[in-house]
């Protein structure tokens, strides 16, 4: 049987070549991707992870628009040197509402997975306008245009789009009630799509992230996003060995 099934036979028969090539390629996909949807321990069961508020979500869009991910990763790997510098290693659960996730693969700048709370809002604003003014050795470009007004008119549509990917932003009262149970009332209000624009403005006004409360700028949104990165999970309430068992 094998005598007949030779290399030559495959190479000279387009049908066999297509079928066997597809088989060889799909093995890689099946082995590497399919199990993630089946395994029980892919996403850790931790408290605190929530969707982004409208302002944070717009900040995330700006993060993607400006290509921050080309130089900054958001993935602290489980190595000692990384944990000492950046903090606790990233969990799969922490990016479960990220579509697409911002893990990145290039670190010209430092990892940002846990940058939230590390610097003050004014530092971020100063640094984004002109990085070299606070970090002389930095090669990061200036982003002065972030101080321009934020276009918040389409934030509800953006949330509706994310809703279709599985982010639990609420449209109906029933969905809102469900979010209240899962995330608490304050957060649930922020995730209610009909109020998205009002919520965005009120968070920007209350936070005053860019130090200028006369208007909502793109800087407000981006800094709000950066300040929440990696802060949702309270690791003091998690036993480290429980996460070990999750792999």
């Amino acid at each position: 049987m094998f005598k007949k099934f030779t290399h030559e036979k495959i190479e000279t028969n387009a049908g066999w070549l297509i079928v066997l090539t597809m088989f060889a390629i799909s093995v890689g996909g099946l082995v590497e991707i399919a199990p993630l949807f089946l395994l029980d321990d892919t996403i850790e069961k931790v408290d605190g992870v929530r969707p982004y508020s409208p302002l944070e979500q717009r900040g995330r869009d700006i993060y993607i628009r400006e290509g921050c991910y080309t130089c900054h990763s958001q993935m602290i790997r489980p190595f000692r040197d990384e944990q000492l510098r950046y903090g606790h290693y990233s969990l799969a659960a922490e990016s479960k509402y990220d579509h697409p996730f911002q893990w990145g693969s290039k670190r010209t700048g430092p990892d940002l997975a846990r940058v939230g709370g590390k610097y003050s809002n004014e530092w971020h604003t100063q640094h984004l306008i002109q990085p070299k003014s606070v970090v002389p050795e930095s090669v990061m470009p200036n982003y002065p245009w972030l101080m321009s007004p934020l276009d918040a008119s389409d934030v509800a549509d953006r949330m509706r789009a994310l809703r279709t990917t599985g982010v639990p932003y609420s449209l109906t009262q029933a969905e809102f009630e469900k979010n209240v149970k899962q995330f608490g009332e304050d957060h649930a209000r922020m995730f209610h799509i009909p109020n998205a624009q009002t919520n965005l403005v009120s968070q920007a006004q209350a936070g005053n992230y860019d130090g200028d409360n006369t208007s909502v700028s793109e800087m407000d949104a981006l800094v709000a996003y950066l300040q929440v990165l990696g802060t949702m999970v309270d690791f003091s309430k998690i036993k480290p060995e429980d996460l070990v068992k999750f792999r």
């Binding site: 030559e8 190479e11 000279t12 082995v31 399919a34 199990p35 089946l38 395994l39 029980d40 321990d41 489980p78 190595f79 000692r80 944990q83 510098r85 903090g87 290693y89 709370g117 590390k118 610097y119 003050s120 809002n121 004014e122 530092w123 100063q126 640094h127 003014s133 606070v134 970090v135 002389p136 130090g211 802060t231 309270d234 690791f235 003091s236 036993k239 480290p240 060995e241 996460l243 070990v244 068992k245 999750f246 792999r247």
Partner: protein, 304 residues
């Protein structure tokens, strides 16, 4: 290679074009078999194939200390390995941190071994966590972040006070006087404040400013103190020295510029000067690291 000794694929394109059908070299084909054998050994030792809702766990193990303080053994995985490495690393540094925690600071700095540990570990911690604002040498930025290398401290410069600043963070605040006071009054206060640090100012204006500073109209004395030397419980800086944190007086070319620098701060107030908290809930640094860093900062130049 002679034309007739090598087998061809049997195809002929464009009348004469043929392709040799050479066998793979032996070193290559045996290399392939070796990697297959290696993979099988690897699958046995390390976590590998998914099986149902679980996966093969491998036979490698890692033993670490669990949060109850008991040794615990888990199948080898990167998280278990990391936990063990973190614990081993902490254990190597523990004798130093224990000594530093137990000793008064004055003795820590006298012990050459301990002090060199403070300096090297402190430099790494400072570079990663503090230098973004306070700059590599702690020199700060006028108008943005305080200088840590001088002996002028907003919130106190003892090790204990530096430690408190690190643990809880700080939030600088000065009210805006632009609406409460007349322009001429702010001008007078600015002249008085500059006169405190030895600048040649209009004596009449300064006298008016002096009165306002200590009156309940200006009420500057409430935070900056009757002697204008600052009150560290509010983070209100000393105004009688030549160190300027918010108003960039030294950079101004002439007296008008210097007065304008101070006037702007008094008019608009300050709602910045936020130092993040490094201790407490969800702490970025543990108490040992914070004490070490406090001693490091204390030694940068002007600890009290």
């Amino acid at each position: 290679m002679a034309e007739n000794t090598v087998q061809t694929t049997g195809h002929t394109w464009d009348e004469t074009l043929q392709e040799y059908n050479n066998p793979l070299p032996n070193w290559w084909i045996y290399g392939l078999y070796v990697t297959i054998a290696f993979a099988i050994v690897y699958w046995v030792i390390y976590p590998s194939w998914p099986v149902g809702k679980d996966h093969l766990r491998g036979i490698g193990t890692v033993t670490y200390t669990n949060s109850a303080g008991q040794p615990e053994t888990n199948g080898w995985n990167t998280r278990a390995k990391l936990l063990k490495e973190m614990q081993d690393g902490d254990a190597r540094q523990k004798p130093y941190f224990d000594k530093i925690a137990a000793m008064p600071v004055s003795q820590v700095v006298k012990d050459p071994e301990l002090n060199s540990f403070v300096l090297s570990a402190g430099k790494a911690l400072f570079s990663e966590n503090c230098a973004a604002c306070h700059q590599a040498g702690g020199q700060g930025k006028v108008g943005l972040y305080p200088n840590l290398a001088d002996d002028d401290w907003n919130y106190g410069g003892s090790v204990a006070e530096i430690e408190a600043t690190l643990v809880g963070g700080r939030r600088g605040y000065m009210p805006a006087f632009g609406e409460a006071l007349e322009k001429s009054q702010i001008e007078a206060i600015s002249s008085y404040v500059l006169g405190l640090s030895g600048h040649a100012v209009d004596k009449v204006k300064a006298a008016e400013g002096n009165a306002l500073f200590h009156s309940n109209t200006g009420a500057c004395y409430y935070c900056h103190g009757a002697d204008a030397k600052g009150r560290k419980e509010f983070g209100a800086p000393n105004l009688t020295d030549k160190v300027w944190q918010w108003a960039n007086v030294p950079a101004a070319a002439d007296m008008n510029g210097k007065i304008a620098a101070v006037r702007n701060v008094v008019t608009a107030g300050l709602n910045k000067g936020v130092m993040p908290a490094w201790g407490g809930e969800n702490a970025r640094l543990n108490p040992g690291q914070i004490k070490l860093l406090s001693i490091y900062v204390h030694q940068l130049g002007g600890g009290k």
